[in-house]
């Protein structure tokens, strides 16, 4: 297997066992990865570069905050990273839990290199993908944030498939004003059709307004 190292991606190794961390770092460096080592979960949370792409390879059993706790903390942060767990001795219930919580893989420390690199590759790919998705979503959200409050009101009604006349009646404004808002918000969001607008709103996680607000 020949990995295709990404220039931006870093493999964060978190392990209290210094010797294993060093050996892993050596192997990963020799395999062409950018590697950063941390000796504890707390150390990693405190010192990890913000927004850095990559993945975490960590020991499951560590004093203080263990691997599972760190995985949860990472997942709940605004800057998640995929996790590959390493353990001296893996028991099935723990690995099941770890995988269910979104760990990329769960390997013993003596797992062969191919297996380990495969897991890292998958984790990096997932990180890249999720990162892209997050960036895209953030871009869309930024576009939506340029709307005025009235634009949003009109948008909500449009997304619910209401006609201009109905919208004008609901909001107590003229039909012309509704049309003007529609043109303005579609321009701001850089879409040309209602279908496109709906897809964009879904992608950005905007409420499509199944529950009409302010209707009387």
């Amino acid at each position: 297997m020949s990995p295709a190292p990404r220039s931006q991606a870093t493999v964060f190794v978190v392990d209290d066992d210094a010797s294993y961390a060093r050996s892993l770092e050596g192997m990963l460096c020799a395999s062409g990865y950018e590697v950063k080592c941390f000796t504890s979960a707390a150390d990693f949370l405190a010192r990890r570069p913000a927004g850095a792409a990559g993945c975490v390879v960590m020991d499951l059993q560590m004093p203080g905050m263990d691997g599972m706790a760190l995985q949860q903390a990472l997942a709940q942060s605004g800057d998640p990273l995929p996790v590959v767990f390493l353990t001296g001795h893996g028991d099935i219930p723990t690995s099941v839990t770890a995988i269910r919580r979104g760990a990329e893989d769960f390997l013993t420390k003596t797992a062969p290199r191919d297996q380990l690199l495969g897991a890292i590759e998958r984790a990096l790919a997932r990180d890249a993908h999720e990162r892209r998705a997050r960036a895209h979503r953030r871009g869309l959200q930024a576009r939506f944030s340029g709307l005025t409050p009235r634009d949003r009101e009109v948008l909500a009604h449009v997304l619910r498939g209401r006609l201009n006349k109905q919208i004008a009646a609901d909001l107590g404004i003229s039909e012309r004003s509704v049309k003007r808002h529609r043109t303005s918000l579609m321009a701001k969001l850089r879409v040309e059709s209602v279908a496109e607008l709906t897809r964009l709103a879904v992608e950005a996680g905007i409420d499509t307004g199944d529950h009409p607000a302010g209707s009387s």
Binding site: S23, G26, Q61
Partner: protein
């Protein structure tokens, strides 16, 4: 028969009867000197009364004088015996007075036999007739003997001596005896002295000493009857106390024994004899007894006895006896040395108890502890397989990673030899680490799987507390167990949970070693928490866990003890977690450490 003969014979009979009774007492128990002296005195008084009766019938002055002479011998014996009797009976009286009276009385016998006709009369000229109780008796008429002054002196001294002794006895608290004996003797002495005077003046036919002595006999008779009553009471209370002792010895299964050292004879009660296999009437000597003692303990037992005799300390020994049934019994014996007035050891008296059961329990406890320790070691590795795999996979994983790195480096055209050399050194060091891990657990390679059952945790805690009790006592610590009676049963492996508790308790014991007494108290508590889980806490007031390391104490090979393996807490953790529980340590703000672990109640587990 005349009244005189009847009365005087009766007096004689009474005196001789008393003499016979006291003589018999003395014959039975040779150290009863008091009784012998009284027997002599009373016997002589009896003879004196007969002689007096003879004197009453004397037809000639010579015959009267001869009888009177022998009467003096009897009086001397009466008085001397009485003097020493007083000393012996009242345990009072001046010794020099006693000797003086004895001497004077003996001295009176000299003129009695040298001068004619006796010590009372210088010469008896004739015999007069005298009517006494309607009868005619002989009365001597003659010159008083000048030696009579000796008699008067002795009587006076006797009075002083007796009064003095009686007063002293009275003061010593022996009032009844002092009054009765002192009073009777004084009265008798005065009466015979007066009678003697009257006789000399021809107003009485004789000194009527027998009559006077009757007073003493009556006093002694009353004393004797009181003594008899007292003896009966003593006998009864002795019987009662014997019954009590018997009851107590039987209840405690005690054997009573006594070794008469001079006669080398061992007395032992039925229980003690039966235990050693001696018949009830069999004669037992010290050596014969020692022969029944287990040969390994024989010399130590002999030495313990000799040591007690030599140093006057109490005798105390535990030894084995080869019993009659061929079995071996453990005996704990304890005794004290009795000495005579000269300080010579005469008897060794004591009790013996069969402690076989206790010894067996001790041995069983020891065996259990050894077994548990062994099991602990054995199951350590059973539980350790998890720990071991983890520990071993760290260096093995690292070695693998280094090897992979080396492979990658070697694939390059110009391999970085410096890096490779470093990698080889790392591989070597991790290999060393793996070897160390294996070394540490090699002794423990045995497997025991968990066997779950429903357990009464309260009983289990009590059992473990019992197991460590000896250790607790040996270290002068205390162990308080506080477990509510209504604690629900748990589902778990008995031996493993015992091991956890034992580990924690032994750790705590070690933690408090060498601390002040009030800090050497351990507590074990168990209770059901609000969430239904059962929490067990082992608390000590030792130095606590070093700050910052408290979470790593359950990791393998982490120890604060110089000689510890660091496996105890790791194993405890593995076991507790295998039971679905948690274990953690806390430092108390007021000093000391608590290790807590949780277990699930049996019914909770059943429904889960």
């Amino acid at each position: 028969m005349s009244w005189i003969t009847v009365v005087w014979s009766m007096i004689t009979a009474v005196c001789l009867s008393f003499a016979a009774v006291h003589l018999l007492v003395w014959l039975r128990s040779r150290d009863a000197r008091t009784n012998l002296l009284f027997a002599i005195s009373a016997g002589a008084a009896g003879v004196l009364t007969i002689l007096e009766l003879v004197a009453f019938r004397a037809a000639t002055p010579a015959a009267y004088g001869e009888t009177l002479r022998w009467m003096h011998v009897a009086v001397a014996i009466v008085v001397i015996a009485l003097v020493w009797f007083v000393r012996s009976y009242l345990r009072e009286g001046r010794i020099w007075l006693a000797w003086t009276i004895t001497g004077l009385r003996a001295l009176v016998l000299v003129p009695n036999f040298i001068a004619y006709p006796n010590a009372t009369f210088g010469e008896i000229t004739s015999i007069a007739s005298f009517r006494l109780v309607g009868e005619t008796v002989s009365v001597p008429v003659g010159e008083p003997n000048p030696w009579r002054v000796l008699i008067h002196a002795s009587v006076l001294l006797l009075l002083i001596y007796v009064v003095d002794a009686a007063v002293r006895a009275w003061r010593q608290g022996d009032r009844r005896r002092g009054l009765a004996i002192g009073g009777a003797i004084v009265a008798a002495a005065i009466m015979s002295a007066v009678n003697s005077q009257l006789m000399v003046r021809g107003l009485l036919p004789g000194p009527l000493t027998g009559l006077a002595f009757l007073l003493i006999v009556i006093a002694m008779g009353s004393e004797l009857s009181l003594d008899l009553i007292h003896a009966r009471e003593l006998a009864r209370s002795l019987r009662e106390s014997q019954q009590r002792v018997e009851l107590a010895t039987r209840a405690a299964d005690l054997g009573l024994w006594e070794w008469d050292i001079e006669r080398d004879e061992v007395w032992a009660n039925e229980g003690a004899r039966a235990r050693v296999g001696f018949g009830l009437s069999e004669r037992v000597t010290f050596d014969r007894y020692l022969q029944r003692v287990h040969h390994d303990d024989r010399e130590a037992t002999r030495e313990a006895v000799l040591c007690a005799l030599r140093e006057g300390a109490d005798f105390k020994a535990e030894y084995r006896i080869s019993g009659p049934d061929g079995g071996t019994r453990w005996v704990a014996a304890q005794g004290m040395v009795l000495r005579d007035a000269g300080g010579k050891a005469v008897r060794l008296r004591g009790v013996a108890m069969d402690v076989t059961a206790r010894k067996r329990d001790e041995a069983e406890l020891q065996r259990q502890r050894a077994g548990l320790a062994q099991l602990q070691r054995a199951s350590a590795v059973g539980q350790l397989s998890v720990v071991l795999a983890h520990e071993l996979n760290q260096p093995l994983g690292a070695i693998l990673r280094y090897a992979e790195t080396a492979e990658l480096l070697l694939q390059k055209e110009a391999p970085d030899l410096e890096k490779l050399r470093a990698i080889v050194a790392y591989i070597r060091s991790d290999d060393q680490r793996a070897a160390e891990v294996i070394d540490r657990v090699r002794a423990l390679l045995q497997r025991r799987s968990l066997q779950f059952e429903t357990i009464d945790l309260r009983g289990l805690i009590a059992q473990v507390a019992g197991l460590v009790q000896a250790e607790v006592q040996a270290r002068e610590a205390t162990l308080d167990v506080s477990v509510p009676g209504e604690l629900p049963e748990i589902h778990g492996d008995r031996v493993h949970l015992q091991q956890v508790l034992l580990n924690l308790l032994l750790n705590s014991l070690e933690a408090v070693q060498g601390l002040s007494e009030e800090r050497r108290g351990l507590t074990v508590e168990a209770w059901q928490r609000g969430d239904g889980k059962i929490e067990v806490a082992v608390h000590d007031r030792g130095p606590g866990f070093p700050a910052g390391q408290i979470s790593s104490f359950f990791d393998p090979f982490v120890t604060t003890k110089v000689d510890g393996t660091g496996l105890g807490l790791a194993i405890s953790k593995t076991i507790v977690e295998a039971h679905g529980g948690h274990i953690w340590a806390e430092n108390d703000p007021h000093g000391g450490a608590t290790v807590r672990f949780t277990l699930e109640a049996a019914h909770d587990r059943g429904t889960a």
